[in-house]
Amino acid sequence: MQENYLAKWLNNELTDTELAEFKKSDEYASYIKIKEASSNLEAPAFNIDAAWNEHKNRRIVEESKTIQLKPYKRFLQLAAAVAVLLVASYFYLGTLDQSISTQYAENKEVILPDTSEVLLNAESSVSYSEKNWDKERNISLEGEAYFKVAKGKRFTVATDNGTVAVLGTQFNVENRNNFFEVTCFEGLVRVTYNNKETKLTAGTSFLVIDGKEIAVNGPENTAPSWINKESSFNSIPLSYVFNEFQRQHNVTVETKNIDTKQLFTGTFSNTNINLALQSISVPTQIQYTLEGNKVVFYAKNAE
């Protein structure tokens, strides 16, 4: 009898002689019974359709799981990116300069880290590095500002026209288009213009108009006039006077038949526009009209 003959017998693989021999054995009847009875066995019921439906449901659950994860992952990615940006910008902004500026008809007072004061006239701006202030007192200026510098290291005001360096003093710097004026009210101020250094003692001024140095008398007051809501001029061309007028009163100025190069000496109010207009028109004998935000100056004899 061959190996595993019972398995072969079930599969009808026995040779005739083997089968005949097997049939003669005592156990044959029992094996026949087992063969028949086992083929009538049934496994527990299994509903394929129900199982298929459940499979479909599970798929949805599994899929929705993955869908839920995705936006969360994206959110995390986004949050990480934002966090990096925030941290980076925090450090970046820390190194950026502080900047303060004023609009037309606006003045501002800035207290620097060493308690030095800066008074900003209309339409001006200063910027400085708060972080490096202890190392170097550097401040850049556009427009006009009055400085009350606390005693300490060299204090430098940088403008496009020139730099002003002091140790501890009070001075005014005006740096407009083609107009650069430094007035020292206290202590000693060193002005560097075109690589040329000029020392200003208290009560003296340094003026450059259109690249030309102009000798001027020093101020009569102990602080610039605009601190007291007035604008003072000492032999200044009318065009610069009108520019200052625009800044202080937030109006536009037009001129007709007027030589704006003629020099003007005088003072106008920064608060009362009518008074200011008279302050200009009476000594120069120029007529004016005021309509809304527009002032027109015109020559008297042109009418």
């Binding site: 595993n4 019972l6 072969k8 087992i34 009875a37 527990p44 394929i48 298929w52």
Partner: protein
């Protein structure tokens, strides 16, 4: 290329065909092993969800054995086999012209068979029942179990032998 796509397991028709032809066998297979209907049902679900998730990675000819392997591995060394129970198809229930003695003897034999099946080693019982109930060829069972045809024949032989010995009370 086109042919490949048509036979992709991810295709709904291919997948549902696989499900309808194999889910019942997976169920029986696990049931013969552990005698637990609920676990067998879960194994079917688990195996086919896994197949769906990995449908792009499983080639259609491998899908069958993939499903059996997943189902089989699910409970490997985890649960103990319980008592396996079966229904018995009443062959000629309509004509009850057999003698009461014969019927009683018949019922006794069925009980003995069940008890004997229950005491078989799990691999012999599974092989025997896959062949007897599901009509699986030795070659198919060998593929499912991952063994040679000869090993299956050996299991069949031993299963029959010990069933007879148990039933005849040797």
């Amino acid at each position: 290329m086109n042919n490949k796509e048509q036979n992709n397991v991810c295709k709904e028709e291919v997948f549902s065909a696989l499900f309808s032809s194999h889910s019942k066998t997976v169920f029986n297979y696990i049931y013969y092993k552990y005698g637990n209907e609920e676990k067998a049902y879960d194994a079917v679900q688990e195996a086919f969800v896994k197949l769906w998730e990995n449908c792009s990675k499983v080639a259609p000819p491998k899908a069958k054995s993939y499903v059996y392997t997943i189902a089989n591995n699910l409970y490997l060394n985890v649960i103990k086999a319980e008592k396996v129970r079966f229904k018995h198809r009443d062959k000629v229930a309509t004509t009850t012209n057999e003698s009461p003695e014969f019927l009683m003897e018949e019922n006794q034999f069925k009980e003995k068979l069940e008890a004997a099946l229950d005491s078989l080693p799990e691999n012999q019982r599974t092989t025997f029942l896959l062949n007897r109930i599901d009509g699986k060829k030795y070659k198919e069972i060998a593929e499912m179990e991952g063994v040679s045809v000869k090993a299956i024949e050996k299991r069949m032989h031993l299963a029959l032998k010990s069933l007879r010995e148990k039933i005849d009370g040797i």
